[in-house]
Symmetry: C2
Subunit: 248 residues, 2 copies
Protein backbone atom coordinates (compact mmCIF):
# COMPACT_ATOMS: atom_id res chain seq x y z
CA UNK A 1 0.00 0.00 0.00
CA UNK A 2 1.31 3.43 -1.00
CA UNK A 3 2.77 5.60 1.78
CA UNK A 4 2.61 9.41 1.89
CA UNK A 5 4.40 11.75 4.31
CA UNK A 6 2.23 14.75 5.21
CA UNK A 7 4.12 17.83 6.40
CA UNK A 8 1.54 18.71 9.05
CA UNK A 9 0.56 17.31 12.46
CA UNK A 10 -2.16 14.67 12.66
CA UNK A 11 -5.78 15.86 12.97
CA UNK A 12 -8.84 13.66 13.23
CA UNK A 13 -11.77 14.19 10.86
CA UNK A 14 -11.99 14.54 7.09
CA UNK A 15 -8.65 14.66 5.27
CA UNK A 16 -8.20 16.92 2.24
CA UNK A 17 -4.91 16.70 0.33
CA UNK A 18 -3.75 18.86 -2.57
CA UNK A 19 -0.33 19.40 -4.13
CA UNK A 20 2.16 16.55 -4.46
CA UNK A 21 0.18 13.92 -2.56
CA UNK A 22 -2.91 14.64 -4.71
CA UNK A 23 -0.84 14.59 -7.88
CA UNK A 24 0.84 11.28 -7.07
CA UNK A 25 -2.32 9.51 -5.85
CA UNK A 26 -4.67 10.63 -8.60
CA UNK A 27 -2.55 11.57 -11.61
CA UNK A 28 0.37 9.13 -11.22
CA UNK A 29 -1.21 6.14 -9.44
CA UNK A 30 -4.69 6.83 -10.88
CA UNK A 31 -6.31 5.88 -7.58
CA UNK A 32 -10.11 5.82 -7.30
CA UNK A 33 -12.51 6.25 -4.38
CA UNK A 34 -12.48 3.28 -1.93
CA UNK A 35 -8.74 2.72 -2.46
CA UNK A 36 -6.56 2.97 0.66
CA UNK A 37 -3.17 4.54 1.45
CA UNK A 38 -0.92 5.14 4.44
CA UNK A 39 -0.65 8.73 5.61
CA UNK A 40 2.26 9.56 7.91
CA UNK A 41 2.12 12.91 9.76
CA UNK A 42 5.07 14.94 10.98
CA UNK A 43 4.26 14.01 14.58
CA UNK A 44 4.92 10.37 13.54
CA UNK A 45 1.27 9.31 13.69
CA UNK A 46 0.55 7.00 10.77
CA UNK A 47 -2.95 6.06 9.63
CA UNK A 48 -4.62 3.98 6.96
CA UNK A 49 -6.95 6.27 5.00
CA UNK A 50 -9.54 5.55 2.33
CA UNK A 51 -10.27 7.82 -0.61
CA UNK A 52 -13.88 9.04 -0.43
CA UNK A 53 -13.90 11.65 -3.21
CA UNK A 54 -11.67 13.17 -5.89
CA UNK A 55 -12.13 16.87 -6.63
CA UNK A 56 -10.36 18.99 -9.22
CA UNK A 57 -7.17 19.62 -7.22
CA UNK A 58 -7.95 17.80 -4.00
CA UNK A 59 -8.37 14.23 -2.88
CA UNK A 60 -10.66 13.64 0.10
CA UNK A 61 -10.01 10.73 2.48
CA UNK A 62 -11.32 9.33 5.75
CA UNK A 63 -9.31 7.62 8.47
CA UNK A 64 -9.85 3.86 8.54
CA UNK A 65 -7.39 2.88 11.27
CA UNK A 66 -4.21 3.92 13.01
CA UNK A 67 -1.00 2.09 12.13
CA UNK A 68 -0.30 0.35 15.41
CA UNK A 69 3.14 -1.17 14.91
CA UNK A 70 5.98 1.19 15.83
CA UNK A 71 8.47 1.31 12.96
CA UNK A 72 11.03 3.60 14.59
CA UNK A 73 14.18 2.62 16.48
CA UNK A 74 13.88 3.21 20.26
CA UNK A 75 17.17 5.13 20.10
CA UNK A 76 17.28 8.31 18.01
CA UNK A 77 20.46 7.65 16.08
CA UNK A 78 22.32 10.42 14.26
CA UNK A 79 24.82 9.15 11.70
CA UNK A 80 27.65 11.69 11.29
CA UNK A 81 29.86 10.89 8.30
CA UNK A 82 33.07 12.67 7.35
CA UNK A 83 32.49 13.56 3.70
CA UNK A 84 33.43 10.44 1.70
CA UNK A 85 34.30 10.18 -1.99
CA UNK A 86 31.86 9.82 -4.89
CA UNK A 87 28.25 8.97 -4.14
CA UNK A 88 28.88 7.04 -0.93
CA UNK A 89 26.95 9.58 1.13
CA UNK A 90 23.93 8.97 -1.12
CA UNK A 91 23.80 5.36 -0.22
CA UNK A 92 24.71 5.82 3.44
CA UNK A 93 21.53 7.93 3.55
CA UNK A 94 19.43 5.48 1.52
CA UNK A 95 20.47 2.35 3.42
CA UNK A 96 20.73 4.13 6.77
CA UNK A 97 17.14 5.34 6.35
CA UNK A 98 15.95 1.80 5.65
CA UNK A 99 17.80 0.68 8.79
CA UNK A 100 16.17 3.30 11.00
CA UNK A 101 18.53 6.29 11.31
CA UNK A 102 16.90 9.37 12.85
CA UNK A 103 19.20 11.96 11.29
CA UNK A 104 22.24 12.27 9.03
CA UNK A 105 25.03 14.81 9.38
CA UNK A 106 27.82 15.20 6.83
CA UNK A 107 30.94 17.09 7.84
CA UNK A 108 34.32 17.98 6.25
CA UNK A 109 36.69 15.75 8.22
CA UNK A 110 40.41 16.51 8.27
CA UNK A 111 41.08 13.58 5.94
CA UNK A 112 38.10 14.18 3.66
CA UNK A 113 39.39 14.43 0.09
CA UNK A 114 36.31 16.08 -1.40
CA UNK A 115 35.88 19.82 -0.91
CA UNK A 116 32.28 21.01 -1.39
CA UNK A 117 31.42 24.73 -1.46
CA UNK A 118 28.13 26.20 -0.18
CA UNK A 119 26.46 25.84 -3.58
CA UNK A 120 27.48 22.19 -3.95
CA UNK A 121 26.41 21.47 -0.37
CA UNK A 122 22.97 22.99 -0.97
CA UNK A 123 22.44 20.85 -4.08
CA UNK A 124 23.76 17.75 -2.34
CA UNK A 125 21.47 18.33 0.66
CA UNK A 126 18.45 18.62 -1.62
CA UNK A 127 19.35 15.36 -3.35
CA UNK A 128 20.04 13.51 -0.09
CA UNK A 129 16.78 14.74 1.46
CA UNK A 130 14.88 13.32 -1.52
CA UNK A 131 16.72 10.00 -1.19
CA UNK A 132 15.85 9.88 2.53
CA UNK A 133 12.19 10.62 1.78
CA UNK A 134 11.94 7.87 -0.84
CA UNK A 135 13.73 5.34 1.37
CA UNK A 136 11.48 6.25 4.31
CA UNK A 137 8.38 5.60 2.18
CA UNK A 138 9.74 2.35 0.78
CA UNK A 139 10.83 1.00 4.18
CA UNK A 140 7.55 2.16 5.78
CA UNK A 141 9.13 4.50 8.31
CA UNK A 142 7.03 6.80 10.47
CA UNK A 143 9.42 9.69 9.98
CA UNK A 144 11.80 10.93 7.31
CA UNK A 145 15.35 11.43 8.62
CA UNK A 146 16.66 14.96 8.59
CA UNK A 147 19.83 15.58 6.55
CA UNK A 148 22.35 18.29 7.45
CA UNK A 149 25.59 19.01 5.61
CA UNK A 150 28.06 21.08 7.62
CA UNK A 151 30.35 23.62 5.98
CA UNK A 152 33.06 23.29 8.62
CA UNK A 153 34.00 20.78 11.30
CA UNK A 154 33.55 23.30 14.12
CA UNK A 155 29.78 23.05 13.59
CA UNK A 156 30.04 19.38 14.55
CA UNK A 157 32.06 20.10 17.70
CA UNK A 158 29.44 22.71 18.70
CA UNK A 159 26.70 20.05 18.67
CA UNK A 160 28.38 17.26 20.61
CA UNK A 161 26.77 18.39 23.87
CA UNK A 162 23.26 17.83 22.42
CA UNK A 163 23.52 14.03 22.57
CA UNK A 164 22.99 11.51 25.37
CA UNK A 165 25.71 9.26 23.99
CA UNK A 166 28.48 9.46 21.38
CA UNK A 167 30.12 6.48 19.72
CA UNK A 168 33.08 6.79 17.37
CA UNK A 169 33.73 3.97 14.91
CA UNK A 170 37.50 3.76 15.16
CA UNK A 171 39.54 1.42 12.95
CA UNK A 172 42.32 1.17 15.55
CA UNK A 173 39.78 -0.03 18.12
CA UNK A 174 38.66 -2.75 15.72
CA UNK A 175 42.28 -3.78 15.13
CA UNK A 176 42.91 -3.92 18.89
CA UNK A 177 39.87 -6.19 19.19
CA UNK A 178 37.82 -3.70 21.24
CA UNK A 179 34.39 -5.26 21.84
CA UNK A 180 32.81 -3.95 25.01
CA UNK A 181 32.06 -0.29 24.32
CA UNK A 182 29.19 -0.53 21.85
CA UNK A 183 27.35 -3.23 23.80
CA UNK A 184 27.73 -1.25 27.02
CA UNK A 185 26.34 1.94 25.51
CA UNK A 186 23.45 0.19 23.74
CA UNK A 187 22.47 -1.55 26.96
CA UNK A 188 22.86 1.53 29.19
CA UNK A 189 21.11 4.24 27.17
CA UNK A 190 17.38 4.50 27.99
CA UNK A 191 14.78 4.37 25.20
CA UNK A 192 14.33 7.74 23.56
CA UNK A 193 17.98 8.73 24.03
CA UNK A 194 19.80 10.58 21.28
CA UNK A 195 22.90 8.70 20.13
CA UNK A 196 25.49 10.32 17.87
CA UNK A 197 27.57 7.84 15.86
CA UNK A 198 30.62 9.35 14.14
CA UNK A 199 32.31 7.74 11.12
CA UNK A 200 35.45 8.97 9.39
CA UNK A 201 35.97 9.26 5.64
CA UNK A 202 38.18 6.79 3.72
CA UNK A 203 41.30 8.31 5.28
CA UNK A 204 39.96 7.68 8.77
CA UNK A 205 39.74 9.93 11.82
CA UNK A 206 42.82 11.92 12.86
CA UNK A 207 44.26 11.92 16.41
CA UNK A 208 43.26 15.55 16.96
CA UNK A 209 39.68 14.75 15.91
CA UNK A 210 39.68 11.73 18.23
CA UNK A 211 40.79 13.99 21.08
CA UNK A 212 37.87 16.39 20.54
CA UNK A 213 35.41 13.48 20.42
CA UNK A 214 36.82 11.89 23.56
CA UNK A 215 36.79 15.22 25.39
CA UNK A 216 33.04 15.39 24.66
CA UNK A 217 32.53 11.90 26.09
CA UNK A 218 32.78 10.00 22.81
CA UNK A 219 33.51 6.27 23.18
CA UNK A 220 35.82 4.62 20.65
CA UNK A 221 34.15 1.44 19.43
CA UNK A 222 35.19 -1.57 17.45
CA UNK A 223 32.47 -2.96 15.16
CA UNK A 224 33.80 -6.51 14.99
CA UNK A 225 37.24 -7.73 13.89
CA UNK A 226 36.89 -6.97 10.18
CA UNK A 227 37.80 -3.58 8.73
CA UNK A 228 34.60 -2.01 7.37
CA UNK A 229 34.51 0.60 4.65
CA UNK A 230 33.32 4.08 5.59
CA UNK A 231 29.94 3.44 3.92
CA UNK A 232 29.48 0.00 5.52
CA UNK A 233 30.19 0.81 9.18
CA UNK A 234 27.02 2.92 9.73
CA UNK A 235 24.89 0.03 8.43
CA UNK A 236 26.54 -2.36 10.88
CA UNK A 237 25.84 0.03 13.75
CA UNK A 238 22.17 0.57 12.85
CA UNK A 239 21.62 -3.18 12.34
CA UNK A 240 23.23 -3.94 15.70
CA UNK A 241 21.01 -1.34 17.42
CA UNK A 242 17.92 -2.87 15.80
CA UNK A 243 18.99 -6.37 16.85
CA UNK A 244 19.71 -5.27 20.45
CA UNK A 245 16.56 -3.17 20.86
CA UNK A 246 13.98 -4.64 18.50
CA UNK A 247 14.75 -8.37 18.41
CA UNK A 248 16.64 -9.34 21.58
CA UNK B 1 49.94 -3.47 5.48
CA UNK B 2 49.21 -5.21 2.15
CA UNK B 3 47.33 -8.51 2.32
CA UNK B 4 47.80 -11.42 -0.12
CA UNK B 5 45.72 -14.57 -0.41
CA UNK B 6 47.87 -17.59 -1.28
CA UNK B 7 46.04 -20.48 -2.96
CA UNK B 8 47.98 -23.14 -1.09
CA UNK B 9 47.99 -24.50 2.46
CA UNK B 10 50.37 -22.97 5.02
CA UNK B 11 53.89 -24.42 5.30
CA UNK B 12 56.60 -23.26 7.68
CA UNK B 13 60.04 -22.36 6.35
CA UNK B 14 61.17 -20.11 3.52
CA UNK B 15 58.38 -18.67 1.37
CA UNK B 16 58.87 -18.26 -2.39
CA UNK B 17 56.11 -16.49 -4.36
CA UNK B 18 55.89 -16.03 -8.14
CA UNK B 19 52.99 -15.05 -10.39
CA UNK B 20 50.41 -12.50 -9.29
CA UNK B 21 51.64 -12.01 -5.72
CA UNK B 22 55.19 -11.40 -7.00
CA UNK B 23 53.93 -9.06 -9.70
CA UNK B 24 51.83 -6.99 -7.28
CA UNK B 25 54.45 -6.81 -4.51
CA UNK B 26 57.46 -6.03 -6.64
CA UNK B 27 56.19 -4.51 -9.90
CA UNK B 28 53.07 -2.68 -8.68
CA UNK B 29 53.91 -1.82 -5.04
CA UNK B 30 57.67 -1.70 -5.70
CA UNK B 31 58.39 -3.36 -2.35
CA UNK B 32 61.97 -3.88 -1.22
CA UNK B 33 63.65 -6.38 1.11
CA UNK B 34 62.78 -5.83 4.81
CA UNK B 35 59.23 -4.70 3.94
CA UNK B 36 56.40 -6.75 5.46
CA UNK B 37 53.07 -8.10 4.18
CA UNK B 38 50.24 -10.32 5.36
CA UNK B 39 50.02 -13.72 3.71
CA UNK B 40 46.73 -15.60 4.08
CA UNK B 41 46.73 -19.30 3.17
CA UNK B 42 43.77 -21.33 1.96
CA UNK B 43 43.62 -23.13 5.31
CA UNK B 44 42.90 -19.71 6.88
CA UNK B 45 46.30 -19.39 8.53
CA UNK B 46 47.48 -15.80 8.23
CA UNK B 47 51.06 -14.68 8.87
CA UNK B 48 53.12 -11.52 8.77
CA UNK B 49 56.04 -12.12 6.38
CA UNK B 50 59.12 -10.05 5.62
CA UNK B 51 60.73 -9.83 2.18
CA UNK B 52 64.28 -11.20 2.32
CA UNK B 53 65.20 -11.27 -1.37
CA UNK B 54 63.82 -10.37 -4.78
CA UNK B 55 64.76 -12.66 -7.68
CA UNK B 56 63.86 -12.32 -11.33
CA UNK B 57 60.36 -13.80 -11.11
CA UNK B 58 60.17 -14.70 -7.44
CA UNK B 59 59.99 -12.86 -4.15
CA UNK B 60 61.45 -14.65 -1.12
CA UNK B 61 60.02 -14.03 2.34
CA UNK B 62 60.38 -15.30 5.90
CA UNK B 63 57.63 -15.67 8.48
CA UNK B 64 57.79 -12.99 11.18
CA UNK B 65 54.68 -13.87 13.18
CA UNK B 66 51.27 -15.48 12.96
CA UNK B 67 48.22 -13.24 12.84
CA UNK B 68 46.59 -14.11 16.15
CA UNK B 69 43.24 -12.31 16.01
CA UNK B 70 40.49 -14.38 14.42
CA UNK B 71 38.77 -12.28 11.75
CA UNK B 72 36.11 -14.83 10.75
CA UNK B 73 32.52 -15.09 12.01
CA UNK B 74 31.99 -18.08 14.33
CA UNK B 75 29.01 -19.09 12.14
CA UNK B 76 29.70 -20.01 8.51
CA UNK B 77 27.00 -17.92 6.86
CA UNK B 78 25.90 -18.56 3.29
CA UNK B 79 23.94 -15.67 1.75
CA UNK B 80 21.55 -17.00 -0.90
CA UNK B 81 20.04 -14.20 -2.99
CA UNK B 82 17.32 -14.57 -5.62
CA UNK B 83 18.82 -12.82 -8.64
CA UNK B 84 18.10 -9.09 -8.15
CA UNK B 85 18.10 -6.37 -10.78
CA UNK B 86 21.10 -4.38 -11.99
CA UNK B 87 24.36 -4.60 -10.04
CA UNK B 88 22.80 -5.26 -6.64
CA UNK B 89 24.42 -8.69 -6.46
CA UNK B 90 27.81 -7.02 -6.92
CA UNK B 91 27.39 -4.99 -3.83
CA UNK B 92 25.69 -7.69 -1.78
CA UNK B 93 28.94 -9.60 -2.37
CA UNK B 94 31.22 -6.63 -1.65
CA UNK B 95 29.47 -5.52 1.55
CA UNK B 96 28.61 -9.04 2.64
CA UNK B 97 32.28 -9.99 2.37
CA UNK B 98 33.29 -7.04 4.55
CA UNK B 99 30.66 -8.14 7.07
CA UNK B 100 31.95 -11.72 7.22
CA UNK B 101 29.88 -13.89 4.89
CA UNK B 102 31.37 -17.35 4.29
CA UNK B 103 29.75 -17.98 0.90
CA UNK B 104 27.36 -16.41 -1.60
CA UNK B 105 24.83 -18.25 -3.73
CA UNK B 106 22.76 -16.56 -6.43
CA UNK B 107 19.67 -18.35 -7.74
CA UNK B 108 16.87 -17.61 -10.23
CA UNK B 109 13.90 -17.08 -7.91
CA UNK B 110 10.37 -17.32 -9.28
CA UNK B 111 9.98 -13.55 -9.10
CA UNK B 112 13.47 -12.73 -10.40
CA UNK B 113 13.08 -10.40 -13.36
CA UNK B 114 16.56 -10.89 -14.80
CA UNK B 115 17.21 -14.00 -16.88
CA UNK B 116 20.90 -14.90 -17.16
CA UNK B 117 22.12 -17.67 -19.52
CA UNK B 118 25.15 -19.91 -18.84
CA UNK B 119 27.50 -17.50 -20.60
CA UNK B 120 26.27 -14.49 -18.65
CA UNK B 121 26.40 -16.47 -15.38
CA UNK B 122 30.00 -17.49 -16.02
CA UNK B 123 31.04 -13.88 -16.65
CA UNK B 124 29.07 -12.65 -13.65
CA UNK B 125 30.63 -15.30 -11.39
CA UNK B 126 34.12 -14.26 -12.49
CA UNK B 127 33.35 -10.64 -11.71
CA UNK B 128 31.76 -11.39 -8.33
CA UNK B 129 34.65 -13.64 -7.33
CA UNK B 130 37.06 -10.78 -8.01
CA UNK B 131 34.90 -8.39 -5.96
CA UNK B 132 34.85 -10.89 -3.06
CA UNK B 133 38.63 -11.28 -3.24
CA UNK B 134 39.24 -7.51 -3.17
CA UNK B 135 36.76 -6.97 -0.33
CA UNK B 136 38.34 -9.84 1.65
CA UNK B 137 41.78 -8.22 1.31
CA UNK B 138 40.48 -4.76 2.20
CA UNK B 139 38.53 -5.95 5.24
CA UNK B 140 41.43 -8.18 6.35
CA UNK B 141 39.52 -11.45 6.19
CA UNK B 142 41.26 -14.80 6.65
CA UNK B 143 39.33 -16.35 3.78
CA UNK B 144 37.75 -15.26 0.52
CA UNK B 145 34.07 -16.16 0.28
CA UNK B 146 33.13 -18.61 -2.43
CA UNK B 147 30.58 -17.40 -5.02
CA UNK B 148 28.18 -19.76 -6.81
CA UNK B 149 25.57 -18.75 -9.35
CA UNK B 150 22.90 -21.40 -9.90
CA UNK B 151 21.30 -21.94 -13.30
CA UNK B 152 18.02 -23.22 -11.86
CA UNK B 153 16.26 -23.11 -8.52
CA UNK B 154 16.27 -26.88 -8.12
CA UNK B 155 20.01 -26.69 -7.45
CA UNK B 156 19.18 -24.62 -4.36
CA UNK B 157 16.57 -27.09 -3.11
CA UNK B 158 19.10 -29.91 -3.54
CA UNK B 159 21.51 -28.19 -1.13
CA UNK B 160 19.18 -27.28 1.70
CA UNK B 161 20.08 -30.44 3.61
CA UNK B 162 23.76 -29.40 3.80
CA UNK B 163 23.12 -26.69 6.39
CA UNK B 164 22.75 -26.78 10.19
CA UNK B 165 20.22 -23.95 10.10
CA UNK B 166 18.17 -22.09 7.48
CA UNK B 167 16.68 -18.63 7.94
CA UNK B 168 14.42 -17.01 5.38
CA UNK B 169 14.10 -13.22 5.41
CA UNK B 170 10.37 -12.89 4.81
CA UNK B 171 8.70 -9.51 4.38
CA UNK B 172 5.40 -10.80 5.72
CA UNK B 173 7.12 -11.90 8.93
CA UNK B 174 8.51 -8.39 9.34
CA UNK B 175 5.05 -6.91 8.76
CA UNK B 176 3.56 -9.26 11.35
CA UNK B 177 6.22 -8.08 13.81
CA UNK B 178 7.96 -11.47 14.04
CA UNK B 179 10.99 -11.05 16.33
CA UNK B 180 11.89 -14.29 18.04
CA UNK B 181 13.11 -16.58 15.25
CA UNK B 182 16.44 -15.00 14.37
CA UNK B 183 17.52 -14.50 17.99
CA UNK B 184 16.57 -18.08 18.82
CA UNK B 185 18.58 -19.53 15.94
CA UNK B 186 21.62 -17.33 16.56
CA UNK B 187 21.65 -18.31 20.22
CA UNK B 188 21.04 -22.02 19.60
CA UNK B 189 23.46 -22.82 16.78
CA UNK B 190 26.89 -23.92 18.07
CA UNK B 191 30.05 -22.18 16.82
CA UNK B 192 31.20 -23.60 13.49
CA UNK B 193 27.64 -24.29 12.30
CA UNK B 194 26.69 -23.64 8.69
CA UNK B 195 23.79 -21.19 8.42
CA UNK B 196 21.96 -20.62 5.15
CA UNK B 197 20.19 -17.26 4.92
CA UNK B 198 17.80 -16.93 1.97
CA UNK B 199 16.71 -13.56 0.54
CA UNK B 200 14.20 -13.02 -2.24
CA UNK B 201 14.61 -10.65 -5.18
CA UNK B 202 12.70 -7.34 -5.39
CA UNK B 203 9.46 -9.22 -6.05
CA UNK B 204 9.85 -11.24 -2.87
CA UNK B 205 9.57 -14.97 -2.19
CA UNK B 206 6.52 -16.83 -3.54
CA UNK B 207 4.29 -19.09 -1.37
CA UNK B 208 5.47 -22.21 -3.20
CA UNK B 209 9.10 -21.25 -2.56
CA UNK B 210 8.29 -20.59 1.10
CA UNK B 211 6.75 -24.07 1.32
CA UNK B 212 9.93 -25.73 0.01
CA UNK B 213 12.06 -23.75 2.46
CA UNK B 214 9.82 -24.57 5.41
CA UNK B 215 9.72 -28.24 4.46
CA UNK B 216 13.53 -28.23 4.73
CA UNK B 217 13.38 -26.68 8.19
CA UNK B 218 13.72 -23.04 7.12
CA UNK B 219 12.58 -20.50 9.71
CA UNK B 220 10.79 -17.38 8.51
CA UNK B 221 12.40 -14.37 10.19
CA UNK B 222 11.59 -10.72 10.57
CA UNK B 223 14.61 -8.42 10.54
CA UNK B 224 13.03 -5.59 12.50
CA UNK B 225 9.86 -3.62 11.74
CA UNK B 226 11.14 -1.71 8.70
CA UNK B 227 10.91 -3.15 5.19
CA UNK B 228 14.48 -3.68 3.94
CA UNK B 229 15.44 -3.77 0.28
CA UNK B 230 16.71 -7.06 -1.12
CA UNK B 231 20.30 -5.76 -1.06
CA UNK B 232 20.05 -4.36 2.50
CA UNK B 233 18.58 -7.36 4.34
CA UNK B 234 21.72 -9.56 4.05
CA UNK B 235 23.82 -6.78 5.58
CA UNK B 236 21.41 -6.51 8.52
CA UNK B 237 21.66 -10.26 9.10
CA UNK B 238 25.46 -10.40 8.96
CA UNK B 239 25.77 -7.35 11.25
CA UNK B 240 23.34 -8.91 13.75
CA UNK B 241 25.33 -12.16 13.71
CA UNK B 242 28.56 -10.25 14.34
CA UNK B 243 26.95 -8.29 17.19
CA UNK B 244 25.51 -11.44 18.79
CA UNK B 245 28.65 -13.57 18.41
CA UNK B 246 31.58 -11.14 18.35
CA UNK B 247 30.50 -8.28 20.62
CA UNK B 248 27.83 -9.51 23.06
Amino acid sequence: MQRYFISAPYQSGEIRLAGEAFHHMIRVMRMKPAEEVYLVYEDQIAIIAQITAVEENTVVLREVAKEMQNKELPLLVTIASGYPKGDKLEWIVQKGTELGAYEFIGFPAQSSVVKWDEKKLAKKKQRLTKIAQEAAEQSQRQLTPNVELLANEGQLWDRLAEYDGIVVAYEESAKEGEKAQLVQILQELPAGSRLLAIFGPEGGITPSEIEKMRAAGGKLCGLGPRILRTETAPLYLLSAISYQWELL
